[in-house]
Every structure is written in C-alpha cells, then in structure tokens.
C-alpha cells in the first residue's frame, strides 16, 4: 500500500472517533443544563425568561436536535463565552483559545523533545547493558521519575529556583517562581518581566520562543528558553519512564531475533548491529506507545501549568473547572482530545514509515 493511501485510510478512520468524542462532550455539557445557562445569570428573573433562554439555546428540543445544534456550534466556532470569575470574563472562548494554545503547544513540544532525546538513548543503553549497572541505574531512575507526583516535582523545582534559594540570582525564576503573565501579553497589569522590554509590540505567533527570535532579542530568547525548560522538564521526567521501558524491552526482543544473528554472521561490528539493526526495529514498535505517552504528557501539562502558573490551556482548564465555567471546560476538553487524536494519527503514520510491514496489511 502506498503511504498516502494509508494516510487517507487512517484519516477516514478518524471520523467515527471524532463523532464519539463529540458525543461524550455533548453528553457532559448537556447533562447539567443549569451550568449551561449560567452565563445568562442576571437576565433570568422569571420562569418565562428561563424558558425563553432555554429555547434560544435549543435546549427544549429532542436530544438529537440538541446534538445537531451542538455540532453546528462546534464546527462554526461558536463556542460560547468565558464565564465571570475567570481571568478574562466575557471573552469569546475561541479568542481565549487562540491566546492559550501557543503556550501549551510550546510546552508540550519541548517536553516531547526532552522525552525523545532522553528516553530513546537511555532505553537502548539499558538494553545493551542488560542486568549491569547502567541498566539498573537507568531503570530505577526512570521508575522513580514516573512514580513522582507531577505537581510535587514542579513544586520542588520551584523551591529550588525561587529567588530566595541560595543559587546565583540569574538562575532563579522571576517573581517567586511564577512566570510573569505579561510576557504572554495576557493581562495588562503586572511587574516588569524579561520580555516586557519589548512590551507593546504585537505577538506575531504567540509562541514565546519564536516571537523573541522574531524581534531578534537573543537575551529575551534565552530567558524565555529558561522559563519554558523547567516546566517542560517536569512534564518530561514524569512521563519518559514508559518510553525507556518500552524501548528497552523492544530492544531486547529485537536483539534476540534471527536477523540480528544474520547481521552478526556477516561480520557487522557490534555497534552497527545495535545502531542499525536492533535500534531501527525497536524504534518502530516504540512509536506505537508514543500516542499513549502523549496522552499522559498532556495530563501532566495540565498540572504543571497550574503549578508554574503557565498561561496555557491547562491552566485555563483548571481555573474554569474551579470556577464552574462549564463552557470553557468543555472547550478545553474537546481541544485536548482532538490533540491526542491528532497525535495518534501522526504516530501511526510514523510507524508505517518506520516499519514497512504495516503498510501491507
């Protein structure tokens, strides 16, 4: 099968998944009607008004009609407004989303990079030195990392890098470990932040790292990198154990295969037996768990953003949930789910690229 046919096939398989996901979010958002109409608070005084608003929101029809309107609103970008009690009350959810998405994407991508850069070599090392000291250390370390509560590790990092900590001042994270929100231009108020110098400039992409480079401010870029790195590291550390474990076991399995013996019988030096023959095959099967890892990574992102006060979707979700802002909660839930679905798609395509047998089926 050609690769593109495989991708098309995989895309078509997404449709039922997305329908299923919308069904779940629809169920959640419509089970508690009162929450749905909280944004009309203050406008409702009589029962007649209540009925009117219920009609406006199409909540009086049969369930499938409600679902239909829900889907319509979902795909036309009419996602409602951020509730009072949040940071920016009254903003359309879509606008809020445009602001919140880049920070989360930045964090998640850097965390993914750290995971891959650490996890794969360590997994290979662990397998090649099976049952020897490097293996034991790697496995124990990875296992300890995944056993840590994400928020706890985050707090420890914050304590370590707080301005009151005895480390050199330029290493600390600004403002008691909290990234200043103005860096992201999300609030008008706030103390001066590293990037504040360029304040008043527009944010072309919303990505901290890209924007600083856009304005050619290397110092700000390095500073931003420092800020992104720590939460990303926390997310990565609490997630990458799975990839080490999987890489290790799949390396071991591959090293026991007959074709490894064939390679050795050709006189292939041991380092290439590992680099070329075993690792490539192990990478193929390890990609299958990347989707799962990404899902747990996003869960870590929600917690980490809250701890580090990172102005992304995770923090938004936390605040919205805390304030019973159901509209924002459902929006973020839906988007997070879509991200995971998309990540699974990418992983499958990667897998079929790495292992030609998959395309055959």
């Amino acid at each position: 099968m050609k690769l593109y046919i495989y991708i098309i096939r995989r895309l078509l398989l997404l449709i039922p998944v997305i329908i299923g996901v919308t069904l779940i979010t629809f169920y959640l958002s419509h089970i508690n009607i009162n929450l749905l109409i909280t944004e009309y608070e203050g406008k409702i005084h009589t029962y007649a008004q209540y009925l009117k608003i219920r009609k406006e929101l199409h909540l009086d029809g049969p369930i499938y009609v409600q679902y239909f309107y829900y889907l319509g609103a979902l795909f036309t970008g009419n996602w409602g407004f951020v509730s009072p009690g949040d940071i920016d009350p009254g903003t359309p959810v879509v606008v809020e989303f445009m602001k919140r998405f880049p920070p989360t994407a930045e964090l998640a991508l850097i965390a993914t990079l750290i995971i891959l850069a650490l996890g794969i070599p360590l997994g290979v090392l662990s397998a090649v030195r099976k049952d020897r000291i490097p293996d034991h250390l790697t496995r124990l370390g990875a296992m300890a990392a995944v056993s840590m509560p994400t928020f706890w590790l985050g707090l420890l990092v914050l304590i370590m890098l707080a301005p009151t900590s005895p480390i050199p001042h330029w290493l600390t994270l600004y403002g008691n470990g909290q990234l200043n929100w103005s860096v992201y231009g999300l609030t008008s108020a706030g103390t001066p932040a590293p990037f504040y110098v360029t304040g008043g400039l527009s944010r072309p992409t919303g990505f901290l790292l890209i924007d600083t480079l856009y304005y050619g401010d290397i110092a700000a870029f390095l500073n931003a990198l420092w800020y992104v790195f720590w939460p990303a590291l926390v997310v990565a550390l609490t997630t990458f154990g799975v990839i080490i474990r999987f890489m290790r076991s799949s390396m071991l399995e591959n090293l026991g295969q007959d074709y490894i013996r064939t390679a050795r019988s050709k006189g292939v030096p041991e380092q290439f037996v590992i680099k070329k023959h075993a690792r490539r095959n192990a990478l193929g099967s390890t990609t299958t768990v990347l989707g799962l890892i990404f899902a747990s990574l996003l869960a870590g992102v929600v917690v980490t953003e809250t701890v580090f006060n990172w102005p992304g979707m995770g923090r938004w979700l936390y605040e919205a949930a805390y304030n019973n802002d159901m509209v924002s909660v459902m929006a973020t839930t839906f988007v997070f789910t879509l991200i995971i679905v998309a990540a699974n798609l990418i992983v499958d395509v990667m897998y079929s690229y790495l292992d030609p047998r998959v395309r055959l089926e």
């Binding site: 064939t262 050709k266 095959n281 292992d355």
Partner: protein
C-alpha cells in the same frame, strides 16, 4: 585432500538456573576443501550449537565456548579463547560482557565472519531484517569486506570506458580483459541472464566509471587506504605478537566505525548514488542473478515480507556468498520449506559447490537430504560426535547403534515394506547427562563398560570412525 576447516575438542556450555548444560563435549571433525560435510542428528544433539560455535554466535549469556581448537587453513580461529574461558570461569555467573579480551576477540572474529565463513539459517523469514530492503542487507556485507574489490573494479572500468561503451551499443560482451572489470564481465557473461541483464550491468559500470573519472584523486586515495587496511587484516589473521595485534585491532576498530553502516540506507535511496554504492548494488544484482532469482533488479528494492520463503532463502544464500567465502555453513537450510522448494534450494547448493568450489557444512536432521548432498557425514548425539564416515559407507555400513537405529526409524518411501525400528526413550537432559557413553540408556547393546567409561573414537576403516565400545581398532583420539 586439503583441509578447509579443522575442529578439535570443541566444548560449549550454557550456564542457566538449573545448572550447566553441557551442550558440546569434545566435538572433533574436519571439513575438506570443496566437499559437502553433513552433520546429522536429532534435536538437542548439538548440531546447531556446533555451527554457532564455529561462527562464535553463541548467545552470551548464557552460552560460552569453553575450550577447543578451530583452524581454517593456516589461521587459528580460536585464538584467545583460553583467555576468555579463564575470565568466564572465574567470574561466572557475572561475566563482564565488555571485557577487553572478549571485545578484542570480537573484532578479530568480525573479519572472519561473512568473509571466510558464512552461514545460512533455518528460517529464511526470520533471518532477514524486516525494515531494510534486500539490497541494503546484501550490500552491507559487501561493504564490510570487499571495499577494495569494489574500488578496483570501478578503477579498471574507468580505464576501459570506451570498450564498455561499445559493448553497451552492441549489447554483447566481447574481448576479455585481464583485470578486475574483466573478471566481472566474464561473470556477467556466465550468468546467461539475457541481453537486458547485460545492458543493465554495463549501464551501471559505465555510470560508475564516469563518476570515478570526475573525482579521480579522491577515489584513488580511498583505494590506497582500503588496500592498506586489507593488508592489516591479513596480518591480523596470521601469526602476530600480542602488542602488534592490539595496535592492528585498534586501527581496525576505528575503521569499522567509519563504515557508517547506518547511513547506507539513506545512500541507497538517493537518485544519483556515488560509484561505490552503485558498484555494490551491481554486485548485489549479480549475486541475486547467480542464485536464480527472476526479476532480480526489482527484487533488490523489495522488503523481505514481500517475498516467499523460497525466494528469501535464495536471498540469504546470496548474502552468504557475497564475499566468496571459503566455507559455507548451512544450518537446516530447507527445514522450513516445502519439498518442491527444498528441491530447488538443494539444487542451488549443489551448483554452488560445483561452480565455486565452496566447502559446505550441511546441518540437518533429514537423512534423506544428507544422502543426496553430502560427501562425508558426521553423526552427532547429545553433544558428541558418534560416527564419521563417507556418505556411501555410512548408509550401507553404519557402525554405531545410534546411527543404525536412526537409519531404521525413517519411513522409506522407496521401500514401504521395511519395518520401522524404534529407538526407545528420548535424548537425555544435558545438564545431567548419563555417565559413560551418553547413548547408553537408549542403546540395546549397552553393557557395563558403557555405563562408566566414555568410549574412545576408533577408526574401523579408512575414514570411518566410531565412538563405541563395541568396536576395536586404532584409537584416533
């Protein structure tokens, strides 16, 4: 007759939880030049362990060659094995795999494997890496051992460029040259695969030669370097002092790193490959054609899962032949295949022996295959060689009770009236093998001496040796 390989007192053991599996105990045999030596026996008798020990492919842990000698011509292949064994016995069960001595031996052996001794395996489906194309896996082997040859062919092709072009026009190979490209051309001619194939080869040669001329100096330099390395390897295999050996190995280690085999895959995907890749690919093509693969040029690009078992076994054989080895070890090459495909593969092996003069060790449990293929036969039982004889002699005058029992327990398609004779019991557990002769619990002739004394190997007639107390004669060892 000249000896290609001498195996003496080979002893291999596996160290597992339940104890030490004495898989090979004192295995001795010789392989003569240009003959097919059959090794036959049942599961667990140590046939494959013997092959893997010769190739030093015993999975470690848990397995280890404990002692023994293997000589290939003048080369001592077991150099350093005593040193290794010493370390192992001391540190068991926690041997350091990356111990320097072991590592050095590994480097030394990588020069032997695939170059002088090659191996083909039982399961062709599993023997090839599923994520690399067929050509990738053949070229890998050529790259490792035949770099000098590749460069020489390209160089001489560039010298004969006008001739090659005129051959290309006529579509036929005419005059013969006395250098590398001449040999290659006569090889192509001998393949007799038709005009298309000849043109394909010539196209590739012309392409390489042109590119060579463009960057002549660079490739001349490479060739010089490659010859130097070859000389070093040659030296390493011969008798060298400890210190010199270490220095050669360290040079070769660096050299091995430079091959960058993991980049080969990318190079092969390029539209316009460099002449080295192109020549290697041409040789891979010639190899596939020589093992009678139809549409060889397309097959080069295929992945293993796209080919049938018979085809894959041919590819595996092509890989094994890629550096024209002196010895080929075939470990149950047809067991996983259907009878009609088995017939094809056996015919191919027969041609190979005839045309290339390769010495073959054929390992199988099928006495029928042995009868068709082998010149001499080694019968193994429970890690021991129990009988060695020329094929005809063995089938018509078997001596050892095990051989006799084995021959009588095969249903004969040519003689259905023959009654099947049963050897009672099963192959013993090799952790606690029976004392004395290991066959004694199953032997119908066993007497008290068999239970305590390991039988010596006795030569009963010219070239026929047997390890059994029932016979008397000249003790060979």
């Amino acid at each position: 007759m000249e000896e290609a390989l001498v195996v003496k007192n080979l002893k291999t053991q596996f160290f597992i939880y339940d104890g030490v599996v004495k898989a090979l105990e004192d295995v001795t045999f010789t392989l003569n030049k240009g003959e097919v030596l059959g090794i036959v026996g049942e599961t667990g008798c140590g046939k494959s362990v013997t092959a893997f020990s010769i190739m030093r492919l015993i999975p470690d842990p848990p397995g280890r060659i404990i002692s023994g000698q293997i000589r290939m011509g003048n080369y001592d292949l077991m150099r350093g094995i005593d040193q290794e064994a010493e370390i192992i016995l001391k540190k068991r069960p926690k041997i350091k795999h990356h111990n320097n001595v072991i590592k050095k031996n590994e480097h030394f052996y990588n020069k032997i494997r695939g170059r002088y001794i090659s191996m083909i395996f039982q399961e062709p489906m599993a023997a090839l890496n599923p994520v690399y194309t067929v050509e990738d896996q053949i070229i890998e082997s050529i790259y490792l051992h035949s770099m000098t040859k590749i460069l020489k062919v390209i160089k001489s092709a560039s010298e004969h460029l006008p001739d090659l072009k005129s051959f290309r026009e006529s579509g036929e190979i005419g005059a013969e040259f006395n250098d590398e490209v001449g040999t290659e051309l006569s090889k192509i001619k001998n393949l007799k695969k038709g005009k298309d194939s000849v043109e394909k080869h010539l196209d590739m040669l012309i392409d390489e030669a042109t590119k060579f001329s463009e960057k002549k100096e660079k490739y001349e330099e490479l060739l010089k370097h490659s010859i130097e390395i070859d000389d070093l390897e040659e030296k390493l295999l011969g008798e060298v002092g400890e210190q010199e050996r270490d220095s050669i190995i360290s040079v070769l280690t660096k050299e091995a790193k430079k091959t960058k085999l993991n980049r080969l895959t990318k190079k092969l995907k390029k539209k316009n490959p460099d002449p080295i890749v192109s020549e290697a690919r041409r040789e891979a093509l010639a190899l596939l054609e020589s093992v009678n693969i139809p549409n060889a040029f397309q097959i080069l690009k295929n992945y293993p899962h796209e080919l049938s078992g018979g085809m894959l076994q041919r590819v595996v054989i092509a890989i094994a032949l890629s550096n024209d080895p002196q010895i080929l070890i075939a470990d149950e090459p047809t067991t996983a295949l259907d009878v009609t495909i088995q017939a094809q593969i056996l015919e191919l092996l027969r041609d190979l022996k005839k045309n290339r003069g390769t010495s073959i060790i054929l390992i199988t449990h099928d006495l029928g295959v042995i009868a068709e293929m082998a010149d001499r036969v080694v019968v193994m039982y429970a890690g021991n060689v129990v009988e060695t004889a020329p094929s005809l002699e063995l089938y018509h005058n078997p001596k050892h009770p095990y051989t006799i029992g084995l021959l009588q327990s095969i249903p004969r398609v040519d003689d259905p009236t023959k009654k099947l004779n049963i050897i009672r019991g099963t192959v013993p557990n090799l952790i606690t093998p029976p004392a004395g002769c290991r066959f004694n619990p199953r032997c119908q002739f066993a007497f008290d001496r068999c239970l305590v004394e390991v039988p010596p190997t006795i030569e009963t007639s010219e070239g026929h040796t047997v390890a059994c107390h029932l016979f008397t004669g000249k003790e060979v060892r």
